[in-house]
Amino acid sequence: MTVLVFTLILLVSAYLAGLLGSLTGLGGGVVVIPVLTLGFGVDFHYAIGAALVASIATSSGSGSAYVKEGITNIRLGMFLEIATTIGAVVGAIIAVWLNNSAIAIIYGCVLILTAAMQQRRKSDHDGVVGSDLARRLKLFGTWPQRDGSFKAYQLRGVGGGFSVMLLAGVLSGILGIGSGVLKVIAMDGIMKVPFKVSTTTSNFMMGVTACASAVVYIQRGNIVPGIACPVLIGVLFGALTGARLLKKLDVRLLRRIFCIAILLVAFNMIWQGWTGKF
């Protein structure tokens, strides 16, 4: 395969990765890793670098659409960023000792968890009584409704949410993906943040968390230009298209199909990692 053919195929794959990542809220990195490793036989350590680039591109690309609507809870995101960035630093240190098989198995497990969490009911968590700590940290907010008005929400479980975010950061540092699933477990499951707010805030955090380990990955040579270039451009345009489509499209069916697809990829990853095929 020539460089030209590889670059063009990767550009198209990255576009689709950005599109799917934005529509499902999982980020472009989740799709980029299996495309590179299973599709092209690329070493996981290069794929992680590409996933980091994809995560930042998805976050900033679709983020420009979300912030304007005032859905993202910047205070909540910023507070939890302390946990995810510390986690990402630790994750980037751990990653050096992990071989391809270990990374494949960890990635597969995160995918299975992601598929499971996609099945949950999307809740607005009406009538949640916030905790005192959340109040003092000024984490309560409002979010826009369909009719243009703003609805106030409270939240709780600050300590639990913060702990899960540490783990989310570690996984982000190891895998390069935003580990959106753990962010949603923390915000939606533990802290009872309305679904739309937790999705957009998670998207905001994904970019910042990825930045915490990105420079280290450049210095180590994981982010290699021949892969980074088509991934950056493709994912960016995919994410922009996705953010635009998300407002008009009913993505329930797409999410269901995507769910089955990531389960298949997950079992494949774990199996090949376990038998040492990578």
């Binding site: 030209l4 590179l36 092209f40 302390i82 021949g226 088509p230």
Partner: protein, 120 residues
């Protein structure tokens, strides 16, 4: 609400710049190496020396003048990384303006972790 529009524009301009720079590198890369066989990405080692043209700031800036494709692409990646960091910086300015010292401190901690880990 003003700051949110500023943030939204920062993100858009940031990713556009990153995209254009990376595209310049991509075009140079394809023109000069498009016909070559695909490089071997099947094995990565932390102990191997990786070319400075894409791993160090000095190497990247040094390669720009020579129109080194790797350096241009990597500059695009750096622009992409700087975008969310700039966004956090804007939030810090906003918190300071609101005299929200708690969140100014929290935002500073996040920035310190990112910058500290990048320079270490």
């Amino acid at each position: 609400m003003k700051i949110q529009i500023l943030i939204s524009q920062t993100l858009r301009i940031g990713v556009s710049i990153a995209c254009v720079i990376a595209a310049v590198g991509g075009v140079i890369y394809l023109v000069s190496h498009g016909g070559d066989p695909m490089p071997d990405y099947t094995h990565f080692s932390y102990t191997d020396a990786h070319p400075a043209e894409y791993t160090t700031l000095g190497g990247i800036f040094g390669g720009l003048g020579r129109m080194d494709a790797r350096s241009w692409i990597q500059l695009g990646v750096i622009a992409l990384i700087l975008t969310p960091i700039l966004r956090v910086l804007l939030s810090l300015v906003d918190f300071l303006k609101e005299r929200d010292w708690l969140y100014a401190a929290i935002t500073s901690i996040v920035l310190a972790i990112i910058i500290g880990n990048s320079l270490a």
